[in-house]
């Protein structure tokens, strides 16, 4: 009963390096989201997807790219990491339709030096 799984859970990068965070869900959910959480700012939406092969920008998309090649996976990429991207990243998923809650992964803590 895994739910939403994020990998890796911790990562330290140097400025300019690239990396990919993987989110996998086993609930057959249509919608998936990437949020970042910074102190005093709650969670802010980076990108989201409403189905396989679709992606859309959220509130803070700059510096990130995403892909949803398979329904169960949602990848978040940083092409050239910056210290401002030091944060905790949460993936979430939801069944399609208007109702229902989001299910969150346990978070990935990224530090960019």
């Amino acid at each position: 009963n895994a739910g939403v799984t994020q990998t890796p859970k911790f990562r330290v990068l140097k400025t300019g390096q690239s990396m990919t965070l993987l989110c996998a869900q086993d609930m057959n959910h249509e919608y998936m989201y990437w949020y970042r959480q910074d102190p005093g700012m709650g969670l802010r939406l980076i990108h989201y997807s409403v189905g396989e092969g679709t992606t859309a920008k959220g509130e803070v998309p700059d510096g990130y790219n995403v892909s949803r090649l398979k329904k169960q996976n949602f990848l978040l990429g940083l092409e050239s990491a910056a210290p401002s991207q030091t944060s905790v990243y949460f993936c979430a998923s939801k069944a399609g339709g208007a109702t229902g809650e989001l299910f969150f992964g346990e978070g990935s803590r990224l530090t960019v030096l």
Partner: protein, 112 residues
């Protein structure tokens, strides 16, 4: 731009106290308001409120929504140290594909 504001930002109480957390919002095409509890890791779902004036309860936690005044409160009675967490309020708009707009969160610390 949708906006969700929580208060207070932090709160320290002793076991047995009752606390009230506040959440006000400005959302275009509002559909629902959700409360989450976040301990060390993932936020976990507490309540979803869509109708004004109807209280949702789960044990010592309860919440109510006022759609006229655009706010919600989360009450916790007889607090325990296990209630220590960040409490997040979020809103969902009608055309948002389930996207949530979050407030800053309230950090609740319950001392023995």
């Amino acid at each position: 731009e949708d906006k969700v504001v929580q208060s207070p930002l932090s709160l320290v109480v002793h076991e047995g106290d009752t606390v009230t957390l506040n959440c006000s919002y400005e959302v275009t095409n509002f559909r629902s308001l959700l409360w989450y509890k976040q301990e060390k890791k993932a936020p976990t779902f507490l309540f979803m409120l869509t109708s004004s004036g109807i209280e949702k309860k789960s044990g010592r936690l309860s919440s109510i929504l006022d759609k006229k005044e655009l706010f919600s409160i989360l009450n916790i009675t007889a607090t325990q140290t296990g209630d220590s967490a960040v409490y997040l309020c979020a809103t969902k708009a009608g055309t948002s594909y389930g996207k949530l707009t979050f407030g800053q969160g309230t950090i609740l610390t319950v001392h023995p």
